[in-house]
Structures are given as C-alpha cells and as structure tokens.
Amino acid sequence: MATRVTPLTTGGLLLLSSLAATAGPLDALDGGTPARREFLPPDEAFVFTHDAPGAGRLALNWSIADGYYLYRDKFRVDSLSAGVTVGELALPPGETKDDPEFGPVQIYRHDLNLSAALDVPPGMASVELQVSYQGCAEDGICYPPIKKTLSVVPVATGAPVAALALAPPAAEAALSESDAITARLERDSLPAVLASFLGFGLLLALTPCVFPMIPILSGIIVGQKGQVGPWRGLVLSGTYVLAMAATYAIAGLAAGLFGQNLQAAFQHPAVLIGTSLLFVALALSMFGFYQLQLPSSWQTRLERGSRVGHGGNLAGVALMGSLSALIVGPCVAPPLAGALLYLARQGDPATGGLALFALGIGMGLPLLVVGASAGRLLPRAGQWLEQVKYTFGVISLGMAVWFLGRLLPPPLTLALWALLLMGTAIFLGALEPLRDAASGWQRLWKSLGLALLCYGTVLIVGAASGAEDVFKPLAPLTASAASQGGGREQAFTSVKGLPALEQQLAAAASAGRPVLLDFYADWCIECKHLERNTFGHPSVQAALDDFVLLRADVTANDAADRALLGRFELFGPPAVLLFDDARAELRAHRLVGYAAPDDFLSRLRAAYTP
C-alpha cells in the first residue's frame, strides 16, 4: 500500500541525517576504547511512508528496525496549509517500557500504522503537512525529533461517487486528474470504482478519442451481407465493444504490471502500415470490389463450432474492436493514466483490470446505440445502401491516411488527403456536365464534389509548398508576413534522462525561473496537437515567455526514457509538468493528455497563482 515518502523538506533537526553519509573523520582517534556500536541513521531506523489520502483520512506508516522504538506520546501531525485541519491521530495502545529515568512510557516497535482525519476545503490542490516523531535505540541512543514535510493531494470527501463520475473533467481540473483518479481507486469500494470508470468511459466517448471508432463500427455494420436489423446491429456492436474493453483491460494490465509502454509498441511503423492496409481493404470491399470476410474454410469451421450464423464475421468484428482499442483509442487520457498508475503502485491486477474494462465499456456505450440504431437508420437495400457503403469506403480510406500520417512526412500526408478528396469529387461527378433535367440531389452532389475538388487542389498546392496542417494548407504561403510580425519560435531545450533533467532544473532554479517539461514522442498525435495548437498559440507563447521550456522526447522509449517517465509516474506522452522556481514539481497541476490553448492557459494561471 505504502508509497515511499519523498519529503519536500526535511525539517529542522533532521538536517544532519541527510549528511549522514560522511563517516566520522575522528573514528581513527578512538584509541583504546571499547568497539563502538554502529547505529542506524534515523531514516533507516524508522522508515516512514504515507499512503495517498483517501476518504478524508491520512494514513501514515512506520517500519521500525529491530532494537529501535518510537515514543507513543511524541507523534504529531500539523497542517502547514491554511484552512486545513488534521484530526487527532488514532494511536493504538503501545508496549509499556519501564524507563529508569522517566518511569513507564508507551512505545511502538516494528510496524506501525496510524491514521488521522484530514479536512480539506474543496478545491484545494495540495496540502502541506508536517509529521513529527521521536524514538531511540535499545542500546542507549536517542534520535532528535524527526520532522517530515509532506505534500499530499487531497481527494474530495463529501461528494457522492456518481456525481463525481458524471461531472465534466474540468470540474476536477484543480487537482491533477490522474492523481485524483488513482486516489479514488485506492479509496472506493469495487462497485463504486466500476461505476466511476464507466462514467469516465462515457466522458471519453464524447472526446475525439473515440470518434474514429464510430465510422469503423458503422462501416462494419453496413458492410455486412444482407440486412442488418437492430438486434443484429446490437450483437455486432456489442462484440466490438466487448473486444475493445477487454483489450483495454489486458493491455492496461500488461502495461501496469510490466511497466512497458505498449502504446509505443503499437505505434510501430509495421503496425501502422498493417492497420492502414486493413482500412484500405475495408474500403475496397465497401466499393464492392469483393465481400470482406474470413476465408470460407475458416468461416465454415467457425460456424460449425459455434453454431451461430456469421460466427466468422463476429470474430472479425472482435478483431477490429481490439485493434481499435490499441491504435485508435490510446490518447493517454487522465482516467487511463490514473488506472495504470494504480496498477503500477498497488499491483492489484483484479481491481485495475476491471476498472479498465469498465472504462472500455463506458467508452463503448454510445457505440452500442450507434450499432443498434444502424439497422433502423440505414436503408435496407438498393441504390441507397450502395451510396452509404461508398461513403464509409471513403471514410475507411481516410482512416488509412490518418494512420499513415503518423508515419509519413506531413506534406506527403497532405498529398494523400488531396488524392482522396479529388477522387471522391470525381466519383461525385464534379466534372460531369449536369443535364437540364438533373434533380436537386444531383446538383447538390455535384456542388459538394466541386468543393472537395477545390479543397483537394489547395491541399496539393499546400503539400508542394511544405504545409503540414490539413486545415491550414496554405500556411507556408501566408506565414511569411505573420512570422515577421509576432510569431516566435518556442525554444524547447531537449533533455534526455534524469541527470540531464536535474541539471536543467538546477540551472533554472538558480536563475529563479519556472520550468515547463513536455513529454513528447513522434508517434504521439496528441503531442503534436499540443505542440502545434497550444504551444504554437501566441497567447500561450506570451504566457510562457519567462519559462525554461524543456522537452523530453521519449520516441525511442529506451531505458533512459522509461526511467524519466517512471520518475514522474507517467506511462507515456503527452504530459506537461510544471515546476516552480525551486525545482519542485507542481504535481497537482500537471497535464496529462491534450489541452486547448484556453484550457492550458487557465491551468497555467492556476498553477502559479499563490
């Protein structure tokens, strides 16, 4: 349970213990006396840890070395943060020690767990506490009172779980979301945890994280042979969602337990190329080039085995669900990071895995609605169905380009988008003359086709001039004026590994400047959004003017990268960490995932407003 305490400051008298490494230079002068007994430094005699506060209680743990003890009446916990009250420490009865000088005293040996009520006003991001205790060794020495300053992230106490889970994430933004979520996992009962994560999943379903799954699923349903009724749609989407949720749970378990960044593995070029080929194949089947299904020999075997019609299709759907979870979904969102952190800390696979599964189901609930309604909303057969299929074919091709975009140079991606748009335009009849008798629909399609054609042309121009953003293809041509005006290049200094970071932090601290540390990877789409939209925004740039900007590029995901991520209990980019001018991380204000410029600015203000 215990997390090793990292005291921000080691208070008062304990100063000397940090210097304990220096051996007594005078030992050599110890001539002609009995051999001196070696005593443990105070932090080894009394190993102090504390748990993340949960349910309004603070849990403190000591592991006391053999032959050492702590006095029962010397424990104190004080709040250093205004408005925060710490209740009475619950002190269990101790062992009575008859001291020749002081008479009978109560002491504790070996393991000790104490707790105290912690009352934190709502909205408080972090609480500074001072814990003091004092003890001695059996063999005749005593340690000065030991004072530890802790910084803990409180968890709201009163609010019902359901309300918290359904509140928008912004409501919790005051504390670092993933930390708060980890704390919730540690505190709540299993049903409450599962309900919370189902809620988080629902919230995630409303973010761009999940949007790509809707066309995939719709495509699968539309691509089915024959008619798809609501029931069949529900079965298909249920299979897809279950597979997705299970994949989240399994991948999360693996990541949490082994500390590996699976996400990085699934952004491997081979996987990305494979996935985009899959989408091309899906698209081609939509265009009617062939029926997408498992080889007939497999299909018959599966059908014989399961005695369920279209069993082969279900397996294919499940496969798509798994792939979607691994490749489409992994925006490192706070709930995901929180659950993974819980897994890594607690090593409790059952709770963590179930929480992730609930998260996946929550994300999938809207998809179930889509699936069930697909049969009703989508046309039965005939010309209409063909057109819908074509539409999904185009979307599938778009997905293929989107995946390749993580791999290809941006201008090339732009060119691919251009090809897709122009091809679609041609199929919409953009360049075919309208007959006088043409219907309104035909005219509408033609105008849409022309619009696509024009935008495709603009994209081609943009690609040729080195543009990177599909939505700003002419940026390189129009930027010259802007960049001469106010556009500044953000000067991120790259850091690799912990020692380099420590060095940079020390340098910034001596210059008295705050530090922003951005975890980035080439394969991380959210990181690129963050870089382009947020860090590239003029008002964000202005706000960060005084900051030392550091960037840890963890694309390689090697040992140094993992050490750095591990140091901050992160599982992958994107993450933006803020440090004050005394090298301390403002953990409550760390950002995991993407934030738009306005959101980012308000977080920044909150972090540095005393």
Binding site: L26, T33, P145
Partner: protein, 176 residues
C-alpha cells in the same frame, strides 16, 4: 537602465567576483600552510542566553557532552559525569554539556538535577556542530574529548559507561 548604472553594476560585480576568487585561494593557501584550526571555534548560548565560545575552555581537558532532556540514556549518564567532574576537576578536567533542546526545558532540568558543570543549549546549530564532530546520524548522547591544545582525542556515541569514561580521561590527564 542607463549606461552609467550598468557600468557601476559591472564594476561592483567584477570586484565581488575577483574578491571572492582571491579569498578562496588565500584560504586554500592558509589551509595548506597552517595547522588545522581547532574545531572549538564555535559558540552556543548558555542558560542566560549569552553566547559562550567553546575555545574559552581551551587549555583544559575538555569533555563536550551532547544531550537532551528527552533522551533517557543521556539523563542516565549525567550523574556519572558529575562524579568525574568532582574527582578530576582540580587536575584540569572540564565537562561542558550542550543540550539539543529548548532553553526552558534545560534550565528546569539543570535546577532539578543540580547539574554543576556548565550547560549550553541550542537546536539546529547544535545538530550541525555534532555533524562536524563526526556524529553522522545526529543521535544522542554523543561525547567528545579535546586535549588542552583543542584537538579531538576521543569520541563516543551512545551511553558512556563510567569506568570507560574514567579510563579515557585518566589516560589524557597524565602527560605522555
């Protein structure tokens, strides 16, 4: 900021830098040339709140005992130290207690137990000074014997049995 003010800043900066550099090198030179300065260059407040320099006791066989009122082994060995002080005081032995404690607690304790050798008290400064004398873990009691020249001759961590303490004191009282 005007050019003149920059120039003043620059000049002050250069002087400070140069001065610091010179001082550092001068000190290095001195350290090599002279014998190590006595560690008795510290001072702590007595129970009246007056700072007392430790080198005031230089010339005697000085025993510094670091203790605290909340420390049972310290309290336990105190009577033995008083006895030794009685016995060898005339031969040049001087016990001085330095408490890692608040002055009020110490004053009360000294009055209650009729401690008859000088007692000083401090908090963080005492901890830092103990560190300098080689008490890495900062635990109490901690006792250090200085010869009349001010050099450290013996240190003891933990309760010091009276016979052991007496043997060490005798060995240093007899000129060798």
């Amino acid at each position: 900021m005007s050019g003149a003010r920059w120039a003043v800043f620059g000049l002050v900066g250069a002087l400070a830098g140069g001065g610091g550099y010179w001082l550092q090198h001068a000190q290095e030179g001195a350290a090599v040339a002279a014998t190590p300065a006595s560690v008795l260059d510290a001072s702590f407040k007595d129970l009246a709140g007056q700072p007392q320099r430790l080198d005031a006791w230089q010339g005697k066989l000085l025993v510094l005992n670091f203790w605290a009122t909340w420390c049972p082994p310290c309290v336990k060995e105190m009577p033995a130290f008083m006895r030794l002080q009685q016995k060898y005081g005339t031969q040049g032995l001087q016990f001085v207690g330095i408490a890692l404690d608040t002055r009020e607690e110490v004053a009360k304790f000294v009055a209650d137990h009729r401690i008859d050798f000088p007692i000083l008290a401090g908090e963080e400064d005492v901890a830092v000074y103990m560190q300098r004398l080689g008490n890495g873990i900062g635990a109490l009691p901690f006792t250090v014997v200085f010869d009349p020249s001010g050099a450290v001759r013996h240190t003891h961590q933990g309760e010091w049995p009276e016979t052991d303490a007496e043997a060490v004191i005798q060995s240093w009282l007899v000129p060798r």
